[in-house]
């Protein structure tokens, strides 16, 4: 009976959601990475539901069949040590399932950690996303512009986010484009995403970071490359330049609205020198130069665009 109520509960809650509301964000992907993840999630929910149902069925069966009120008063349950074959099956089936999941999991790991395959032939757009208490700074080194708390991205093109933080560990997450990754103060992490279609999406910091954490969100707008280029051009015309003093002011704890600047902070306030999976222990100094070089390279790219 316990089981029945639990099952009913599950069905009930799923039903309310499926009928009443929009599709769940994570299961409503707008990009290849999120799609892969949603696929894994649905797959695992399916197989896992099967396991749950099997266990429930066995449990209900034995509870009904072997309850004391049904057994005769002089029934003495037998002494059974265990059976090699039964136990082998109990080990074998989970091993088969786990092996299957392991294969899927490893494949997916390499897929989400790499440039999206669908757009493998395209040059990725690099965006530096850094968090400070409680906002996000997005630097577009190629376009040489920077925004606060909102993100414009072109569709049908891989986007490589470089993540780091000017404070506590945060987690950069756009559920409909793909899973999250930490932004930390002593390492730059990389997250590969891409958007398939234009539209607005929610992005947020998912990792608790203090008082202003709940509001630590940003808007994501995906648009065609053409619109994106037009937006960049507009920004360059209208936005004021980002100076070191201005940026330091932005870093102060608090909430800010959306802001737009020309220039980025990468020159005067470079990201941490350690990179994901890079060799730790490099001294500061030369890495600054490499960043400067990189910035130069990127401004070259810009001309092509």
């Amino acid at each position: 009976m316990k089981v029945k109520s639990a099952l009913l509960m599950l069905v009930f809650t799923i039903a309310t959601v499926l009928t009443g509301c929009e599709p769940l964000m994570v299961l409503d992907p707008k990009g290849p990475q999120a799609e892969r993840q949603a696929h894994d999630i649905i797959l695992s929910i399916g197989i896992m539901s099967f396991i749950v149902i099997v266990v429930f069925a066995i449990l209900i069966y034995v509870l009904i069949k072997y309850r004391a009120s049904k057994a005769s008063p002089d029934y003495e349950p037998p002494h059974i040590e265990g059976n090699k074959w039964v136990e082998l099956i109990c080990v074998g089936i989970p091993i088969v399932i786990v092996t299957y999941f392991s294969i899927v999991s490893v494949q997916s790991n390499y897929i989400v950690e790499a440039k999206p395959q669908a757009y493998a032939d395209k040059e990725p757009l690099i965006i530096y996303a850094s968090s400070s208490d409680w906002k996000w700074h997005f630097s577009y080194p190629e376009e040489n512009i920077e925004t606060v708390n909102y993100l414009y991205i072109p569709t049908d093109r891989p986007i490589e986010f470089k993540l780091y933080s000017y404070g506590p560990i945060t987690s950069f997450w756009i559920p409909q484009l793909g899973g999250q990754k930490y932004a930390m103060s002593d390492m730059t992490t990389t997250l590969h995403l891409a958007a398939d279609e234009p539209g607005e999406m929610m992005g947020r910091n998912a990792n608790f970071s203090g008082k202003g954490f709940a509001e630590n969100m940003f808007n994501v707008t995906a648009m065609s490359q053409k619109d994106f280029d037009k937006w960049v051009k507009d920004v360059k015309k209208t936005a004021k330049p980002l100076t070191k003093e201005e940026f330091n002011k932005l870093l102060k704890p608090g909430h800010l609205g959306q802001m737009t600047f020309t220039g980025t902070h990468l020159g005067f306030n470079p990201p941490p020198e350690h990179h994901q999976m890079g060799a730790p222990g490099e001294k500061e100094g030369h890495s600054d130069d490499s960043h400067m070089e990189m910035n130069m390279d990127m401004s070259d790219h810009q001309d092509h665009n």
């Binding site: 809650t13 964000m25 896992m48 029934y75 265990g82 392991s102 899927v104 790991n109 998912a206 203090g210």
Partner: protein, 648 residues
């Protein structure tokens, strides 16, 4: 007045002032009551100085229940705040403090003492021993835990509570971003009670290896004892890790070092690694004794031996080994790359195999049994389906690529509550009901108990299943509020209702204790459940020496053999019994630890140094003390035995 400013609460509110008054009144009431009924001497002689494992077990139990109440109030506050969008019940600072203390209290100061309560009370009885290997050390463990818990709890009214989550990730928990003393409390309180846990680990391992009754080989130990052995091996392995991590964190906060800071080479990721190297095995420290309890209970109320004893033992050993190899799954998203994530993903999923074996073994124990639906059995039967749901969502979370989407969301919150509540809390309530007659000499009322069970199960489903859905809909954990546009409102309201139902169920359990104290019959005998292992072979209430004659054992179900197969459990005759003396030193030493911790928290160096000297003085006193214990004479034992036989 600068000196006193530090003790003030940085963000006072009515709730905090009310608790100040409540705490003050409770303390006054306790002191007045003890004085009025002239119970100070009794309290000191019989409880504060006791080294009896049974009394220490009961004190653990009471502390755990009090902490369950405190952690539960926190939980209700959290759910109430999130029940509707844009709620203003708690401000972000308070919300952060409440969820931080909720986590720490439930894991460190509720679940840990709860399992220690059963370890202490049951294990010596189950292996036919007179006490644990080091009774004095055992008292010290308890009092260190107790004063650690008290230290943590006063943070609410003196100086402010920790607000960086129960994981206390740096640099958020560092001085720059958490300037008030809350996180100091976290560091010191867990450190002090953690030392106590480590000592319990050493004590229990020695007890189980060295004090088993004649004939009880390792593979003839009852399953609960096995689970405690494995658990304590994990404790000894991983508690030193958190000791070091907490010491480093304390130094960062108090002495200006740069272990986890963002400057001068500090590494915030190191804290996360050290924390979870301890933190993941920690949840197995909680769940394995729970598995042990379920094994005892399911076997008892199926009227059958436990199916697959050997594979049960093997699976626990494998789980314990794997538990130390999976810690990075708590931060797949830290950017270790696909290779490391794949490794930890696979090791994590592998835990599902031995756990699955255990579930099947329990099911096969029910098979061909004669199942009695008592309250302990109901909890154990409720555990199986609910824990399976928690377990399979664990496998889902273990898929690291998908975890990028679950991480830090309510899905994760739902998962770990779905394992810990049906896994640990149900086991503790089952164990509480199961061992209550042995501890106190009367049974808890079954009817009220069944009501409590059903309410708890339904409340649990209502409270936590919606979180799976809001998690997939992008609700991050630890957000103090959300806007209406997100659409999380209705499901969070459902969670709040569920939390309320769970609260009613806990209130019923308390009422059940009151009701049973008043109305339950007292002549229940030594074996009210028709159980199978040694702890039921001795009298109720258990005499201080446990067994007048050392039991001799031939299987893992010695008492059952004695009842059904005519196995002679107590050959030989009564001899004088050596027992340890009571001592006030563990209590005093732990109280000094409390002063030390408090002084450190507020950087009061002089009292800190003085109390440190006091701690070493206590140790020196113990070293020079000439205490050989005492003997209970044969005459005394026989008198007690006759009297107890009369009772039953």
């Amino acid at each position: 007045m600068d000196f006193f400013d530090r003790f003030a609460i940085p963000n006072p509110s009515i709730a905090i002032y009310a608790s100040m008054v409540a705490i003050g009144l409770t303390v006054v009431a306790i002191i007045a009551g003890l004085t009025y009924f002239k119970k100070w001497g009794y309290l000191w002689r019989e409880w504060l100085t006791t080294v009896d494992h049974k009394r220490i077990g009961i004190m653990y139990l009471i502390s755990a229940l009090i902490m369950l109440f405190r952690g539960g109030v926190d939980a209700i506050m959290l759910r109430a705040q999130l029940a509707v969008p844009d709620n203003k019940l708690l401000d972000p600072q308070h919300y952060n403090e409440v969820f931080s203390t909720h986590g720490v209290i439930m894991v460190m100061f509720m679940a840990m003492p709860f399992i220690f309560a059963f370890m202490n009370y049951v294990v010596p009885l189950q292996i036919g021993a007179r006490d644990v290997a080091f009774p004095r050390l055992n008292a010290l463990s308890f009092w260190l835990f107790f004063f650690g818990a008290m230290l943590f709890n006063i943070s609410f009214v003196i100086g402010g509570s920790p607000d960086a989550g129960w994981t206390s990730y740096f640099p958020l928990a560092g001085n720059d971003l958490s300037p008030h003393v809350g996180t100091n409390y976290y560091m010191m309180a867990i450190q002090i009670s953690g030392i106590g846990s480590l000592m319990t680990g050493i004590n229990m391992i020695t007890t189980i290896f060295k004090m088993r009754a004649p004939g009880m080989t390792l593979m003839k130990m009852p399953m609960f004892t096995w689970s405690v052995l494995v658990t304590n091996l994990i404790i000894v392995t991983v508690f030193p890790v958190i000791t070091v991590a907490l010491a480093m964190g304390t130094m960062d906060r108090l002495f200006g070092t740069h272990f986890f800071a963002t400057t001068n080479g500090g590494m915030d990721m190191l804290w996360a690694n050290l924390f979870w190297v301890w933190g993941h095995p920690e949840v197995y420290i909680l769940i394995l004794p729970a598995f042990g309890l379920y094994s005892e209970i399911i076997s008892t109320f199926s009227g059958r031996n436990l199916y697959g004893y050997k594979s049960m033992v093997a699976s626990m050993v494998i789980i314990s080994a794997l538990s130390c190899m999976v810690w990075a799954h708590h931060f797949f998203t830290m950017g270790q790359g696909a290779l490391a994530n794949s490794f930890f993903s696979i090791t994590t999923m592998m835990i599902a195999v031995p756990t699955g074996v255990k579930i099947f073994n329990w099911l096969f124990t029910l098979w061909k049994g004669k199942i009695r639906f008592t309250v302990p059995m109901l909890y154990s039967l409720g555990f199986i389906p609910l824990f399976v749901i928690g377990g399979v969502t664990g496998v889902m979370l273990a898929m690291s690529a998908a975890d990028y989407q679950y991480h830090n969301t309510m899905f994760l919150v739902a998962h770990f509550h779905n394992t810990i509540i049906p896994g640990v809390v149900f086991a503790m309530l089952a164990g509480l009901t199961y061992y209550w007659p042995k501890m106190f000499g009367f049974m808890l009322n079954e009817r009220i108990g069944k009501w409590a069970f059903w309410l708890l199960s339904i409340g649990f489903c209502l409270a936590f299943f919606p979180m799976y859905i809001t998690g997939l809909d992008g609700q991050a954990r630890r957000m103090y509020t959300y806007s209406e546009a997100t659409g999380y409102g209705p499901l969070n309201m459902l969670s709040f209702v569920g939390a309320g139902v769970m609260a009613i169920s806990f209130a019923l359990i308390v009422y059940n204790v009151y009701y049973s104290v008043r109305y339950s019959p007292r002549n229940i005998g030594a074996d009210p459940w028709d159980a199978r292992s040694l702890e039921w072979a001795t009298h109720t209430p258990v005499p201080e020496y446990n067994f007048a004659i050392e039991p001799h054992v031939a299987s893992s179900e010695a008492f059952w053999d004695a009842k059904k197969k005519g196995h002679e459990l107590f050959p030989g005759k009564v001899e004088k019994i050596h027992m340890p003396n009571s001592s006030g030193v563990p209590f005093i030493m732990s109280a000094i630890f409390f002063v030390f911790g408090f002084s450190m928290i507020f950087s009061l160096w002089i009292p800190a140094i003085i109390s440190l000297i006091g701690i070493f003085a206590c140790m020196a006193h113990r070293s020079f003390e000439n205490d050989h214990g005492r003997y209970i004479s044969v005459k005394e034992i026989e008198e007690t035995e006759t009297k107890l036989r009369g009772v039953n």
